[in-house]
Symmetry: C2
Subunit: 333 residues, 2 copies
């Protein structure tokens, strides 16, 4: 028994913390299929203690192979002369130890589980996962997404020392500075155009900013979809088409609005039309980028929640400035 | 019994869905304190069915007042001749029906609960909350935060019709356009300065962009802290001081970096110093705004996850452009 316990503990230690194996504990109570409920009841009374979060006992054969579970509630309501085999649930899927923690969480949510058995590749029982640990996974997954989007480490404690916080965040600021410099370099190529028509400098942040906002809406939707397992290869194309249509529609609406605002402000028809066209273009590009960037990053094994925002803003800034200042140079100067 | 059931069902219906009362169900099994476990065991066997997610029975007095709970596992291990009163847990806190769903979730997480009793203001049992519903609350709360930050409705289905999606997002784009126009208006006041020195137009987005990024890091941290109940009135001041220190430190670092970059690019000492100073100022303001905006919005009863980002970007854009172009006008022109 002790040898078995030691072996199981070693098995737990060997799994990565983001897999079912890493989440499981070995506080299981196992029973054989051929004994009567009465024997089980006497065994439990003799044992004297049942681990927390135990809603079922796990049925295994002599070799430790997982066969099914019996609910504690069934022990309390079924005829004690029945055997375990007669009342056990055989359709319970045991979770392979290599299953991703995220998939374990989805399974618990979908099936409303309190605990679930974990098995190795041969179907032998290794331990069980309980809902309290799954709740932590769900909370951490969500926190990770939210913090990553701002380039924060989820371990970045609210009250971490100033130096440590600064150092962690400075990496993110550095990466963003590179993208800001790229945008500045684009603007720098149009210095003469801006000198000629300073209104361009006044209006250009609007194009970039609206593109960033629209793109981040699509980006957030797709990142959540990937995290919750709702977006895969099959429906990615459908999602992209939908987002492009939303981008085009909103692009048209806001192109008209900013066009009129610019005309009211500077009374320059050509400038207003160019601003509207740049806005339309940037909102369509933002939808395209917002939908494809997380899918590509995810395929490359990079967390889209972490890197998606920077890549997106780079695209919407560069395209926004380039489209607006480029068209202005072509048509106005 | 049926009358009682009907009354309890009505009680459930009358609570808002984001309170303990709205989360609870009335599938409770109640027992009296003065009976023996043997009687409880026979009652359960007679009853024949125990609701899902039942890990304890709820002990009430004749008037339905909540007294404590007994674990099903204790029924299986304790001496059947003991009374409920002898083994019941009396230190179980029942949840008042008006408790916020978010606080219920925090309680379940902290105490690793599977189910918990819900009571009215007089301590009478109304029902119970089970972990499966709490998991949904946690998931929804996190989704709500993530989606709100991008101005999305969490019910905005990935595959909602194009028109509906566009209309929902267009409100957010409209609000952001107003803040972008405000930033443009600030820039517009410095048209002559920019005409005089076009490098200002090239460099100004860097100041605004870095402020926005740094501010959103602080903002995200504080919004999460509020959502998870980690930030309250008591430690708000400490958090603000810490974030201001981080802002000042990172401001110094990046002021030096962008100063050198600007000097390498435009070989203009004064311009580089002004850029660095504007960066330092904007990063300190970003920390101040990122920490205080969500606290103020929360106090006003406005969801900081929804409105925080827009308000923050408005501040960092306006301060960024104003500081940089203002100092340039004063010292360079």
């Amino acid at each position: 028994m002790n040898e078995q316990h030691r072996q199981r503990l070693e098995a737990v230690m060997s799994f990565s913390s983001d897999t079912a194996g890493g989440l499981m504990n070995t506080d299981t109570i196992t029973v054989r299929a051929d004994i009567s409920l009465d024997v089980v009841l006497r065994y439990l009374r003799f044992r004297g203690e049942i681990p927390d979060m135990t809603d079922n006992l796990i049925v295994v054969n002599r070799e430790g192979k997982f066969l099914g579970t019996i609910q504690l509630t069934d022990l309390l309501t079924e005829d004690p002369s029945l055997t375990v085999a007669e009342i056990m649930a055989r359709d319970v899927e045991a979770i392979p130890a290599t299953t991703a923690a995220r998939d374990v969480a989805n399974l618990f949510e979908r099936r409303d589980l309190v605990s679930a058995p974990v098995v190795d590749e041969n179907g032998n029982l290794l331990g069980r996962i309980t809902i309290d640990d799954v709740v932590d996974v769900i909370r951490e997954e969500a926190n990770h997404s939210i913090m990553s989007m701002a380039g924060l480490n989820e371990e970045d404690d609210m009250f971490a020392p100033v130096i440590r916080s600064s150092r962690r965040r400075t990496v993110w600021l550095g990466i963003n500075l590179l993208t800001a410099l790229l945008a500045s370099w684009v603007i720098g190529n149009f210095e003469h155009t801006i000198q000629h028509l300073v209104a361009l400098a006044v209006l250009m942040p609007i194009v970039a900013s609206m593109g960033g906002i629209a793109g981040s809406q699509t980006l957030t939707l797709v990142i959540r979809g990937i995290a919750l397992g709702q977006v895969g290869g099959a429906n990615a194309r459908k999602l992209l088409n939908k987002e492009l249509a939303v981008g085009a529609l909103n692009g048209l609406v806001w192109a008209l609005v900013v066009g009129f605002v610019a005309f009211a402000w500077f009374s320059d028809t050509q400038l207003s039309i160019i601003l509207g066209l740049a806005m339309l273009l940037n909102l369509v590009v933002a939808a395209l980028a917002g939908a494809t960037i997380p899918l590509i990053l995810h395929k490359m094994g990079i967390d889209p929640a972490l890197a998606g925002g920077v890549v997106l803003t780079t695209v919407t800034d560069v395209v926004g400035f380039l489209a607006f200042l480029g068209m202005a140079t072509w048509f106005l100067v």
